[in-house]
């Protein structure tokens, strides 16, 4: 939420008090302090008028800046003034495969085509949505009458998009008019728009214009359009000026805009796509293709929110539609794939753990439900985008996000005399506060854990909580193959505490090895890792690796796990950070909270401070 600018006092009472203060210095009237007096009534009118003017001035001032505007219409205008086009609604998109078996059809054609816009219905919850293809599909007889449909690129994976196809036709005005063509449809997905310009109304030949967002160069011959949201939520289409900013449609020419009016995220998660019409095979034979779902529908989105515009517009202005710095990569990737990506972190190869020059690294957290296949397609698209917009030739490499869990052990001094709530209730409240802290402050790239902030919240749970402290651990997980020796390497986002003679710095969750309950932990005063029998507290494997405290690395070598105690398929490896006050993840690291291994305990006291 944006903070606001306050240009003048808005408090009615203080405005009125200022007027009273003025009257105090005058002799003419005395009754201003009595609310029912005539003078007080007049002061009310004056103060109310001042208050209203102050409000108007504040609203106007706040709506003038991206960082403070509250109305979507204001943010749309301000963003567009710096060249940022807010996202429209986005069509949900699935991938299907289509085939037909025509082995029993005589005189069948060798090649069958399906025109763009072939429709399917798909049900999400209780509502049906229409999906359609976006390009011409062709299938060739494999000799046995089996036809597999493919896209123009020859790919069997056919994308289908949700929405109703709409067409808007305009007649171009005189060049001097600087015409804006209005599309009064708030559900338009501007990414699906196809803009065709005909020389006149009778010709059938046309030029297809492209969005200015995809332009890498602009000249007087460029065929570009700008399609952007208006403050009232509709869309306006405009063209170049006919000279330096690209061609303008000729006067009297016809402009046809085809697009999808979409339902956004509501159409996500459609699993079954049923064709709505048959395909004519021969004069007397019509068949329906067999459709199999490759990925369910995802990526539908609503219009860009005001907070998103507030964050993205200045960054994108800074990038100037070029990929130069790592921040440019983040900004432009988000611009193009915002409905698929929850969070992104990019960094230059020189900042990588193992420096690689000439490389940009990106780590992406995809939205829930995005399949592996869709992620792969998206990454390919990002590489194409980087090739178009990159100023220098940088490779872009993707690394998976690494989750590091945080375990917290909270102790708080509790005086039951200062509250009517039971200790169990307070403990539960503390746990809730801790969980909420992690929900609000972690889970994305570059969000750090700060113990002092957490403990401040714990102290505020109740007056009966007198003070608090917390032990903090980092944790990563590995899924071992059972009954075989394996190596496992871990890199934590910050330094690990050096070994000492009292506390173990590395501990794992429990597993069985040769019929004994064990855990991996470091030997006291040593960075050597051992497998320790938890019953006897004696090591049964003396050396299964080591850890490097300064580098934050743990290397387990030749560990055999026979079974994992407590079910599940992973073992948790917990380490004590060198500095428990703050854990700041960098690059591909993301912090999350392990509620199962976190505790909150009260220590009773009768002290009142």
């Amino acid at each position: 939420m944006a903070t606001t600018i306050q240009s003048s006092s808005l408090d009615f009472a203080s405005i009125k008090n200022n007027l009273k203060t003025y009257l105090q210095s005058k002799e003419e009237f005395k009754d201003y302090n009595f609310e029912a007096s005539g003078l007080s009534n007049i002061l009310d009118v004056l103060a109310y008028n001042t208050h209203l003017n102050g409000l108007t001035a504040n609203f106007a001032l706040n709506e003038s800046f991206i960082s403070t505007a509250q109305l979507r219409s204001s943010l749309v205008q301000l963003s567009e003034a710096i060249g940022y086009i807010p996202d429209s609604k986005t069509a949900s998109s699935g991938i299907v495969k289509m085939a037909m078996n025509l082995s029993n059809v005589v005189d069948r054609e060798n090649t069958i085509s399906i025109a763009t816009g072939y429709k399917f219905t798909a049900k999400v919850d209780t509502r049906n949505y229409t999906f359609q293809t976006q390009e011409t599909l062709t299938a060739t007889d494999d000799g046995a009458g089996y036809y597999q449909f493919k896209t123009l690129d020859g790919d069997e994976k056919i994308p289908v998009k949700e929405g109703q196809a709409k067409v808007r036709t305009f007649i171009a005005g005189d060049n001097e008019e600087n015409a804006l063509y209005i599309i009064p449809d708030k559900n338009m997905d501007i990414n699906t728009a196809i803009v065709k310009v005909f020389e006149n109304t009778s010709t059938t030949s046309f030029d297809t214009y492209t969005s200015i967002e995809k332009a890498t160069t602009i000249s007087e011959q460029s065929t570009l359009y700008i399609l952007k949201e208006m403050p009232n939520g509709y869309y306006e289409l405009s063209f170049g000026n006919g000279t330096t900013l690209g061609k303008t449609p000729p006067a009297g020419g016809k402009i046809v805009v085809e697009y999808l009016a979409v339902n956004g995220a509501a159409a996500d998660n459609a699993l079954v796509f049923e064709p709505t019409s048959t395909i004519k095979i021969t004069e007397n034979v019509n068949r329906t293709p067999v459709v199999t779902t490759y990925t369910k529908s995802v990526g539908g989105g609503e219009k860009e929110s005001i907070e998103s515009m507030r964050k993205n517009a200045p960054f994108q202005y800074a990038t100037q539609n070029r990929m130069v710095t790592f921040a440019d990569y983040e900004s432009l990737i988000l611009r193009n794939y915002s409905t698929l990506i929850k969070d992104i972190s990019s960094w230059g190869g020189e900042d990588n753990l193992k420096p690689e020059f000439g490389v940009i690294f990106s780590s992406i957290v995809f939205e829930n439900g995005i399949s592996e296949a869709r992620q792969a397609v998206t990454k390919t698209g990002i590489q194409d985008l980087a090739a178009q917009l990159g100023v220098a030739t940088f490779d872009i490499k993707f690394t998976d996000p690494v989750k590091t869990f945080v375990e917290t052990e909270i102790f708080f001094r509790f005086n039951p005399a200062l509250t009517t709530l039971s200790v169990n209730t307070i403990q539960e409240n503390v746990r809730n506060v801790v969980n909420r802290y992690f929900e609000d402050n972690t889970g994305k790239f570059n969000l750090a854990f700060r113990r002092s902030n957490l403990l401040t919240l714990v102290d505020d749970v109740s007056p009966a909580v007198l003070s608090s402290r917390a032990e903090v651990k980092m944790q990563q997980r590995f899924a071992p193959s059972l009954l075989v020796e394996q190596d496992h390497n871990f890199k934590f986002p910050v330094e690990i505490a050096s070994p000492d003679d009292v506390n173990f710095r590395i501990t794992s969750s429990t597993f069985t090895f040769k019929g004994q309950s064990c855990q991996v932990r470091n030997q006291l005063k040593s960075n050597k890792l051992q497998v320790v029998n938890l019953s006897t507290n004696k090591p049964i494997v003396d050396n299964v690796g080591s850890y490097n405290a300064a580098a934050g690395e743990v290397n387990i070598v030749g560990l055999q796990v026979d079974a994992i105690v407590g079910g599940g398929n992973s073992i948790k490896l917990s380490v004590v950070p060198a500095n428990q006050s703050v854990i700041r993840p960098q690059r591909e690291y993301i912090l999350e909270h392990d509620q199962a291994r976190s505790t909150a305990r009260a220590v009773d006291t009768d002290a009142d401070y």
Partner: protein, 151 residues
């Protein structure tokens, strides 16, 4: 008026000190009729008991939520308009008026405050007589206000 009183030696060896026992406070309000004084052109003023009387009248003719940022201000007498006289509740009117004056007009001596509502059946009106004494001057003020339909 001031009275001289002596303090004992044990209380600081003071021979005497002056205590203020009364404060002479002047009531001086603007006349909401906004009539101009012929000689100077200035607006007329209301003084002393007349100022308090105007103030009470303002209070009675203002409804709740009418004044900006003071939702409780007013006696809310207009709420009683269009009530059937069969459900007429004089006590509620008395309470409303007394409570409003108690909170918003401290210049009225509440011990002397009398509120007498009367239905004038022949005129389809409600007349409220209010009698009180002004604290500072001791003057007794009688105020009558009438609620009736305009047409």
């Amino acid at each position: 008026m001031a009275i001289r009183r002596a303090l004992s030696r044990e209380d600081g060896n003071l021979d005497s000190v002056t205590f203020a026992t009364t404060a002479n406070r002047q009531n001086l309000d603007i006349d909401l009729a906004f009539g101009a004084r012929p000689t100077t052109g200035d607006v007329f003023k209301k003084r002393e008991a007349e100022a308090v009387k105007q103030s009470v009248r303002n209070l009675l003719t203002t409804g709740k939520f009418e004044k900006p940022f003071q939702p409780n201000y007013g006696a809310g007498l207009y709420e009683f308009l269009f009530e059937l006289d069969t459900v007429y509740d004089g006590e509620a009117i008395v309470n409303n008026v007394k409570e409003a004056i108690r909170v918003y007009e401290p210049r009225v001596d509440h011990k002397t405050l009398e509120v007498i509502p009367r239905i004038l059946t022949d005129h389809n009106s409600l007349q409220i007589d209010i009698i009180f004494r002004v604290i500072n001057s001791g003057e007794t003020v009688e105020l009558t206000t009438t609620l009736n339909r305009l047409r």
